[in-house]
Symmetry: C2
Subunit: 412 residues, 2 copies
């Protein structure tokens, strides 16, 4: 029993930590509570209750189902729900009218067949990528409303009244959600995406820096420093694994109105392209990292020979990535980027030269042949991997220049 | 207008193609239709209707909301829905009883406060990873049911009757969904995961093979072949991007009962580990691939020197990956794997030797120094990247041996 209590305590501690780390999550819980209470007023207060009747329950339901963490997700669900309800309602009333004209005998069959056909078609349509991305929730609500109205139409007399009231309550519910989501501590999916990508860029640049520094540093560093280092090195992994959430956020961000620095038609797709380029960089760092932990190490003189040029390449790369992050942050084109790219190219050239001279010097030494060469190739892996990073970085810089231009246009 | 019609035609063509490629998607649409029609019978047939009353609509709703593509997802939603409804119902009735004892004046306040508190807490709990993974839907339903019952309890007299009927209809709906999902063309999330990972393993091994072959082949290959090759090369990307869907499927697979080759407690987590190892391999192939497309090529004599040993390393790696895929497919431990791993190690050793001899021969030639060395390091990148692949492959093999053993235990 003590074990069980301890587990529960731990669970609550963890939960509390999540909330303290990101107080907006607490705020979201409170927002939902407030919205629910406000909507319950329709039930508690007589004048409001008389307006919409027992269907007030639908407003409560709408709030629970529609209210999401980000504004974009809430808007997506709200708009989908309203549109799908309207469309399905009209269709169902139309089918009901046709069925009622054809006599009591055929009525249930016509209704049943229409439900079967539309539900099958709509369910299948959810597999189409475009529908899946933008209207998945809407299709569910469409099937729901259509079958509810057409099935209950068989027994309920005042179908139009019912539909009208239901639509009114759903609109009340969604409107309340939208307003609450946008006014009380709004959390914009677009903003989240924006900062997520900037954060990832910084992490990737830190890892690149750390990785190269780690490779060339003395082995006698103090262990405390090492731990921080390895944390830095692992940072790029978050860039590797964030594809799913980025896609979802870009999807929701499309539904958001203008807010803060972002206009309505902000080029969210550019963000996805940037993050794809960034992921490519992260793959390269992954490869570099595995060199770092491989068994055979290069001798010190090779390290010293190449250390400076390698570090200059990596530091220039880091600079560019950080500058790009800054560019995205401020959404203005930085004039320094072209300069930095030129500097980077220069240092790559220098590294090339150094490699060539290294090979020459190695051949001149000729002692211990096999070992040094073994290590030289180890070394060169590092540099070539770095060289792999560079086209990707310049690719990313191009992309972001495009993004910057588009943003410039939007702002103008 | 013609443009518009064309677009719609295209849309339908695409949709049709999706269905033809995977007929199970059509089947799923039909299944939902059938389930909805069966549940509508409760409304159309008088004896059934008298049993559950107007609440039959809840059964329809449950079917629409709960029915998902895979059995695991359907079970997850069904069980979550039933449990959450029961729990919230009892809680709400309890709170209602307390509130009704405290007089009419305080009643709405107590009800409102309880809704506010529980809704806030439950919404916040959705941010906790464990809850998010397993009970996300259940929490939504909990909030929904609790607020519905406690809010409508303020006006509706026979609360217990209402709750009882609603629970009955929900159980009818979920039971119908579960039976339909499991009996009519079942699509098991576990099976999907199983085959997805096997397919990914085969793709990665094909890409590795194709990549190395491409590097060492003559440039005068016919273009037709090239296209197939590049398709092969791109195959590993599907392994890179499948993390999200794998996680979701492993999550759903946990809810599934024993089916086909899989028992109830099948070690689904092992699949995730295997796929993580596989993704590591895919990163390496990504790095290899960038070598393939880089500008500076190595001279032919280096290629000839190393070609054989490189191809033997890669073919052994491919063999191992394919054998592991076979192991997972049949869920038996193959005795050949140890042998293959040994062979692989031998060929790696050979490659090492070749590299050393290459460097020696290079030094003996000493003409054209800088150029050959430049290329030698290019070459060595390839081989070292291959060597990077190997620990990963052996890591994967270890993992799958563990998986095989666990499965052997489960089967025994």
């Amino acid at each position: 029993f003590v074990d069980f209590t301890l587990k529960i305590c731990n669970f609550f501690k963890k939960a509390w930590k999540i909330g303290v780390d990101d107080p907006r999550k607490f705020a979201h819980g409170l927002r939902v509570g407030v919205a629910l209470c406000v909507v319950s007023l329709f039930y508690y207060m007589r004048p409001l209750y008389n307006g919409v009747g027992g269907n007030a329950i639908w407003a409560v339901m709408t709030v629970v189902v529609v209210f999401e963490y980000t504004v974009g997700a809430t808007l997506y669900k709200s708009l989908n729900r309203i549109c799908a309800t309207c469309l399905a309602g009209f269709l169902a009333i139309g089918v009901h009218w046709v069925a009622s004209q054809s006599g009591t005998k055929f009525e249930p069959f016509i209704l049943g067949a229409s439900v079967f056909l539309l539900a099958s078609a709509a369910t299948f349509s959810r597999f189409i990528p475009v529908v899946k991305a933008r209207f998945d929730y809407g299709v569910t609500i469409f099937i729901l409303t259509f079958s509810l109205v057409s099935v209950s139409g068989y027994r309920v007399e005042k179908l139009l009244d019912l539909a009208h009231q239901r639509l009114a309550t759903i609109i009340i519910g969604t409107a309340l959600c939208m307003v609450t989501a946008m006014v009380v501590y709004p959390i914009w999916a677009g903003e989240e995406l924006h900062f997520l990508i900037i954060r990832n860029m910084e992490k990737v640049s830190d890892s690149l820096d750390g990785c190269v520094a780690d490779y060339f540093k003395d082995d006698e560093a103090n262990p405390n420093n090492d731990e921080a280092c390895s944390k830095n090195l692992e940072a790029y992994k978050s860039a590797l694994n964030s594809k799913g959430s980025e896609d979802a956020m870009a999807n929701f961000a499309r539904w958001e109105p203008a807010h803060g620095l972002f206009t309505f038609n902000h080029p969210w797709k550019q963000y996805l392209k940037v993050s794809a380029a960034l992921r490519n960089c992260a793959y390269c760092i992954e490869a570099l990292n595995s060199c770092l932990y491989s068994e055979n190490k290069s001798p010190d003189f090779v390290k010293i020979h190449l250390g400076d040029s390698c570090s200059s390449v990596s530091s220039h790369s880091c600079e560019i990535i950080k500058e790009l992050a800054q560019t995205i942050k401020t959404m203005t084109r930085s004039s320094q980027i072209d300069m930095s790219v030129m500097k980077l190219n220069d240092s790559v050239q220098l590294l090339h030269e150094n490699l060539k001279s290294l090979s020459t010097s190695l051949i001149q030494e000729e002692v211990p042949q096999s070992k040094t060469n073994e290590n030289a190739h180890k070394e060169s892996v590092l540099t070539v991997s770095l060289m792999d990073v560079i086209p990707l970085v310049s690719f990313a810089s191009l992309l972001i220049e495009i993004a910057g231009r588009v943003e410039g246009l939007v702002e103008a």
